[in-house]
């Protein structure tokens, strides 16, 4: 068995070589694809003069990166720490509100097989085609009217923007959860009722725990959108107020330090780090969540 026909051997060699070439080509392509990220890191460790001198050279002193980062943390325009905290508060609370309230709504819509529940469901679903641009200016006006007449300021506040995210996020979330809840056997809920659970307890003790896998999808889809969103915070929080999210801070910084690429790139690096770190830990869930969300 040790002897291999020479022509088969040659064929195997050729296939092996082709595969090697393929491996190398894809590797090169991948490195090329990643070049913008490498350059952000490289140039975050340079001074403005060094970048003008050569944007592709290796940095002379990596310590410069910490100086750039310090400048950004100290800059009153960016206030990275406060922007990070704002982004975190807004994203986390909006996600909690969207997931929790949409699950309640979706459950009611699935379990009531009546005309009104179908109509409401269709209303939520059809609203998914409405682009943000059509509602953005009237929304600001409407929030201003509510704020003035009810003395309940929505513009420039946490609760205002979180409320807005709930409104924009609930349609798609209800849609995804609706599909998921349809697959939850009704017998489980009936068993809970027989055991003496009321409607509210059935939802919290039986249905909600079963929705965990669907929540992964919902949280990731909405989370990436809200964390990176620029227009809604721009309109609801405004540029003049003290409250900024990370995208607003980066835009304000790039607008104020025109062409100061050392600082602009460092600020983009700081904006990217939290997401990349999260991705490294939760890669599998993030990819699964985003793909499933699209397919549904």
């Amino acid at each position: 068995m040790s002897q291999i026909n020479p022509s088969v051997q040659a064929k195997l060699n050729r296939a092996g070589r082709r595969r090697m070439v393929g491996e190398v080509l894809v590797m090169l392509l991948f490195l090329l694809f990643m070049v913008p990220f490498f350059l952000v890191v490289l140039n975050s460790a340079k001074t403005s003069a060094e970048i003008i001198n050569s944007p592709v050279a290796w940095p002379g002193n990596w310590g410069q990166m910490f100086k750039n980062i310090a400048t950004i943390f100290e800059s009153p325009i960016v206030r990275y720490t406060s922007a990070f905290i704002n982004s975190l508060i807004i994203t986390v609370l909006s996600l909690a509100a969207i997931a929790f309230f949409s699950a309640m709504a979706a459950w009611v819509l699935v379990r009531n097989k009546k005309g009104w529940s179908t109509a409401l469901f269709l209303m939520f679903v059809s609203a998914m085609v409405i682009p943000f641009q059509v509602v953005m200016f009237p929304l600001v006006q409407w929030f201003r009217i509510i704020g003035d007449s009810l003395r309940l300021p929505l513009l420039g506040t946490y609760h205002g923007i979180i409320f807005a995210y709930l409104g924009f996020g609930c349609s798609m979330t209800i849609f995804i959860l609706h599909g998921f809840i349809k697959g939850v056997p009704l017998e489980l809920e009936e068993a809970a009722t027989i055991d003496g659970c009321g409607q509210v307890r059935t939802f919290f003790n039986v249905v909600l725990p079963l929705l965990m896998p669907a929540f992964v999808t919902v949280l990731i889809l909405n989370g990436i959108w809200i964390w990176n969103d620029y227009l809604l915070p721009l309109l609801v929080l405004g540029t003049s107020g003290g409250m900024k999210t990370i995208p607003l801070a980066v835009a304000a910084f790039a607008g104020a330090f025109v062409k100061q690429w050392d600082l602009i790139l460092t600020s983009t690096l700081l904006a990217m780090i939290p997401i990349i770190v999260l991705f490294l830990f939760a890669q599998r869930y993030i990819i699964k969540g985003m793909v499933e969300g699209a397919i549904k």
Binding site: E23, V129, W142, L265, Q283
Partner: protein
């Protein structure tokens, strides 16, 4: 289980409230504002019929924005899907690092268009120019963002780079759902790689095309963040005898009509047209793709 109407209502209430306050009411207001002389300052608003709609179709900037948005959308739908599909073939092959590549190609999606826009502005205006001069490529020696002929292509390039990894993941999911025996059988029957892709893979992933084309179409059409950070509409050019911005896509035109020119009612009318065009295009695309799916 006996359902109580009061509990159902309480469960629906948060989503219904947010949805009506954030989408329904502003949407209705928006339609009315589009037909009015609303300017955001005066509290008195007069109905003026279709005047805002008439004026936009004689405005050079709007007409040009419309044209380049169509161009941008078509370029993106083609390139994002081609590249995404090619990447999907690559990362579903026998490559050693395929899972690593999969995650890597996906990363640009997690980062907002705003941050990526600044990074690519740096790439186009600094890095590529230096490299172009170094290698002696005249077309790279001045920034691709500075010429009205190349700026849309440069923007599409960035969009493709950002979005192809996401589309790739959707294709990967579709390809992995194809039974392996099918491809093996074809291979045994002597079908080469391209033959297998054309005769088995593409027909089998046909319903993925409906989703991916829909996603690329709608996101390109609504593009704002990347446009704002990468070019901010520039460079200037002449069109129909007027000076206009050569890379100002529709979403940006709507925004700047309201913000820099303070014409809120006109901006709202443009947004309504934008919404109608988007809905019509998506419906046409989904109908065509669905018909194909059935045939395939």
């Amino acid at each position: 289980m006996k359902r109580r109407g009061s509990v159902d209502f309480l469960f629906l209430f948060p989503c219904l409230l947010a949805f009506s306050m954030v989408i329904l009411v502003p949407f209705g207001m928006g339609i009315y504002y589009a037909l009015s002389d609303w300017n955001g300052v005066r509290s008195e608003i007069n109905f003026i019929g279709f005047q805002n709609f008439k004026s936009m179709f004689t405005e050079p900037q709007f007409l040009f924005s419309f044209l380049i948005t169509l161009q941008y959308t078509v370029i993106n739908v083609i390139f994002v899907n081609l590249v995404g599909f090619a990447l999907a073939l690559m990362v579903t092959s026998q490559l050693k690092l395929r899972n690593f590549y999969r995650a890597g190609f996906f990363v640009p999606n997690l980062i907002g268009g705003l941050v990526l826009g600044y990074i690519w502005q740096f790439m186009f205006n600094n890095v590529l120019v230096v490299m172009g001069k170094g290698i002696g490529l005249p077309w790279l020696s001045s920034s691709l963002l500075a010429s009205k002929d190349s700026v849309i292509w440069a923007m599409s390039f960035v969009n493709t780079w950002q979005y192809a990894g996401y589309i790739m993941m959707i294709y990967v999911a579709a390809i992995q759902a194809i039974p392996g025996s099918l491809m093996e059988a074809a291979s045994v029957d002597g079908a080469g790689f391209f033959r297998r892709v054309r005769s088995i893979l593409i027909p089998m992933v046909a319903n993925a095309f409906t989703i991916t084309i829909f996603l690329t179409l709608t996101t390109s059409f609504k593009q704002y963040d990347l446009n704002f950070a990468l070019t901010n509409g520039g460079p200037a050019m002449r069109f129909m005898g007027k000076a206009i911005k050569s890379s100002q896509l529709l979403a940006m035109d709507i925004f700047s009509t309201a913000n820099s020119r303070n014409l809120l009612a006109e901006a709202q009318a443009k947004a309504v047209v934008f919404f109608i065009v988007l809905v019509v295009f998506s419906l046409i695309q989904v109908t065509i793709n669905k018909r194909r799916e059935v045939e395939a």
